[in-house]
Symmetry: C2
């Protein structure tokens, strides 16, 4: 059995700690998942876990230890660290003594060949990790294929995004692309691009979403700029009856995803 | 003109700083709103601002200074502090040098007399401030009256909730009550209580929401427990086609709110 790591300067620990930075996550193509609930979720959905990190002194509860034993039995390396080391890895106020390092999974847009009835979400410059995770969660709920993250959209492997997704980042398909690549892909693959904007003319409940659909959502702050709207096949609006002129990004995306689901199941 | 406050131990500053704690917010019945966007929003919607706190060295931009001058002209006190003091108040990494102390506004449930076509949301034990703010924002978008926060539901005047609401906490009606008080009120006022749960028999798109409606949503973790479901007039489910058995709370609430809006406007 491997020794318990007690040095915060240990090379492996430093590499794991670095995963809190987006740049390191991108380079290592790994993500850091923390807490009993999230780690158990990752194991349950068969996320590609590289290794677990546990601090036995902090780790309480049968569920957690069952997960550790299950992972060990499946051949996953379990790194044991002391409490001081674990606390330098954790970003929680009350660390639960369990974390997982998970491989990121990405597809190339050119390899995505949508079939009839398939729905994707494309996010353009979304900045809030919580929103991104919630969108991935809603893709799971509606049976959508996955999310295409355009340009500078934030990282779905950010810990906040992973937590908001409740495991769905490990089950839904994820693609990164530039906006131009996305437009080329949609034209080549005959995908209907449906943009959402407050001042669009089509109500989202009566719009025609086509046979293969990508719902294109703009950023939290600015929405979809006019030149991006111009490339959409359809622009839809969600009615608003109050003072404000926009909805939360994850809420708006879910409303459209559910409308597409409803229309497809009624058809 | 009042002197610039340069002591972090100043009594008024200490009282304002204490507003980051829920207990103090409850006692003082005040809230602390930070940042140009949020403060301007609060002023625009005529939130009951007690005073502004500004740090001239940090405060940049015409929009922000226009808001300060407008508030001054309207008789609102503007407290000037130095950078050190402002940084002890701020919870942001890059403080923008402007904040507002706003009076909380609450209604008593017994004073709420719903009229035909009116919709409320009741949150039971919701824990995430961001979700609560997003629900209030969706109430604004759908023209719902407001939110009834039951039992230990988190604080809509938490800074995270206020930011997520994009100003709607200052325009929508807010009520606190126990679950039992809520049930009494709904019966007395002949309000249809519509609960949401994954395993309910009615699809949310075909359910009958009644003339006066409250949508009752359970907590993020546990949903609505059976004994709470038992008091609902109707239980609705949002279909789920994926691995997971639940949606984000704010997403689920918005889906039902929009369905009620749609049915009312079609009627």
């Amino acid at each position: 059995m491997a020794a318990v790591i007690t040095s915060t300067a240990n090379a492996r620990i430093k590499k794991i700690r670095a995963l809190r930075m987006r740049k390191e996550r991108d380079e290592q193509q790994l993500a850091f998942v923390e807490g009993i609930r999230s780690v158990v979720e990752a194991i349950q959905v068969e996320a590609p876990v590289e290794h677990l990190v546990i601090c036995p002194a902090l780790l309480k509860g049968q569920v957690a230890w069952d997960a550790v034993n299950l992972a060990r039995a499946a051949g996953t390396e379990v790194i044991e660290v002391d409490e001081t080391v674990f606390r330098t890895l954790s970003r929680r106020e009350g660390p639960q003594g369990i974390a997982a390092v998970v491989r990121q999974r990405w597809e190339r847009l050119e390899d995505v060949l949508p079939v009839t009835g398939e729905t994707w979400v494309a996010l353009e410059e979304a900045a809030d990790a919580g929103n991104i995770g919630t969108v991935v969660r809603s893709c799971d709920a509606t049976g959508a294929a996955g999310v295409i993250l355009l340009d500078h959209t934030a990282d779905p492997y950010d810990p906040v995004a992973m937590r908001a997704s409740t495991g769905a980042v490990f089950t839904k398909r994820l693609v990164r692309a530039t906006f131009d690549e996305f437009v080329d892909w949609a034209r080549t693959r005959v995908v209907t691009v449906v943009g959402a904007a407050g001042d669009a003319t089509h109500d989202y409940r009566t719009a025609d979403y086509g046979e293969r659909t990508t719902i294109l959502m703009g950023s939290e702050r600015a929405g979809l700029p006019p030149e991006r709207q111009a490339v959409c096949d359809v622009m839809v609006a969600i009615p608003m009856r109050g003072r404000a002129d926009s909805l939360n990004l994850a809420v708006a995306t879910a409303l459209v995803l559910y409308e597409v689901l409803h229309q497809r199941e009624r058809a």
